[in-house]
């Protein structure tokens, strides 16, 4: 059996092409690997840099937050302790990001503020109610005392007027009678009185 030269030439060409393709693929793989490796290194460096900046910012923010929390009177001691612990834990474990802590802190603060606000509101309402009730009660009590005093005073005034009237009445009648009597009437009255005494007592 004879192999045609043409056929052999064709096979050689195919193999050469196949070889070139393989070589090209290997070259491309190596180049891609190198690129990926460089990219990875660059990414790691970037990531480290970002984390360092974040930690630094976190420390500053935490310190500031601690100062604020320590100085404010709005939070309860229990809340302050919780926030401090949360911040310290986050820093220690490194599991929480700055944003998470801030978010948690913000939620806690808002919640605490709302709770505080509600408590404060309720406390104010209660105190206002107590003060108002007390004031109203006091006012009613004073009003009763005032009315009682007024009634007593009124009664006293009426009694005084009545007493004065009783004292004045005879004098008024006497004055009026004295003025009303003429000389003749007075003389007649004297004589009639003497007559009456004489008859009654027989002197």
């Amino acid at each position: 059996m004879t192999i045609e030269p043409f056929f052999i030439t064709g096979l050689i060409i195919v193999f050469v092409c196949f070889g070139l393709i393989v070589i090209s693929i290997v070259v491309l793989y190596i180049r891609s690997s190198r690129a990926l490796s460089a990219l990875n290194t660059e990414f790691i460096l970037y990531k480290r840099d970002q984390e360092s900046q974040a930690r630094e910012a976190l420390l500053v923010a935490t310190k500031k937050a601690q100062e604020i929390i320590a100085s404010t009177q709005m939070f309860s001691d229990e809340t302050k302790k919780w926030v401090m612990d949360a911040v310290n834990k986050s820093i220690a474990s490194g599991s929480s990001t700055y944003m998470q802590i801030i978010n948690d802190l913000g939620q806690k603060s808002v919640k605490d503020l709302l709770t505080y606000s509600d408590t404060l509101k309720k406390s104010i309402e209660v105190q206002t109610h107590e003060i108002t009730s007390g004031f109203i009660s006091q006012l009613q009590s004073e009003e009763k005392v005032f009315h009682s005093t007024l009634e007593k005073d009124e009664q006293q005034i009426i009694e005084d007027i009545a007493k004065r009237a009783e004292l004045m009445l005879p004098q008024i009648i006497k004055d009026a009678s004295g003025r009303a009597l003429t000389q003749e009437e007075s003389e007649v009255l004297v004589l009639s009185s003497l007559e009456k005494i004489k008859k009654q007592h027989g002197f």
């Binding site: 005879p170 009678s177 004295g178 003389e187 004297v190 009185s193 003497l194 007559e195 004489k198 007592h201």
Partner: protein, 140 residues
């Protein structure tokens, strides 16, 4: 000893008689200064008892000083005529004279005091009693 003929009717008359008696010291003097009734009484006593003027005068003074006072309170100054009207009510009482006292506070009517007994028919007392009774019944 009663000196009925000289029974004085008012205190003023008693006082006047006592003044005259204290001034006059003899019968002759008495004739010129005594009121007729008093002089008559002196003569009667002198004849009956043959007494001296001093004794008679003393007797009369004692009588006048021993008379009972009848106090009559009236609210105005009375005329002589009205005084006589008042004296009529007491003329029957022996050894007494009337002392008229003007007291406007009695308003009207009269208040009489005889030997400490009070007979009150004054308007002052009547008004007080009437008002007291009225107030008492009103308050009850």
């Amino acid at each position: 000893m009663a000196f009925e003929s000289l029974v004085p009717k008012t205190k003023d008359e008693v006082v006047e008689l006592l003044k005259i008696l204290s001034r006059v010291t003899s019968f002759e003097d008495a004739k010129n200064h005594f009121p007729p009734k008093l002089y008559d009484e002196v003569l009667i006593q002198q004849k009956q008892n043959s007494s001296s003027f001093e004794v008679v005068s003393k007797s009369i003074k004692q009588y006048l000083n021993s008379m009972n006072s009848i106090k009559v309170y009236i609210p105005f100054v009375a005329s002589r005529q009205f005084i006589d009207e008042i004296l009529k009510y007491f003329s029957h009482l022996p050894n007494s004279y009337v002392e008229l006292i003007v007291d406007q506070s009695i308003i009207g009517g009269v208040r009489v005091v005889i030997s400490g007994r009070v007979f009150d028919e004054s308007l002052d007392t009547i008004i007080d009693k009437t008002i007291a009774a009225s107030l008492k019944s009103h308050n009850a």
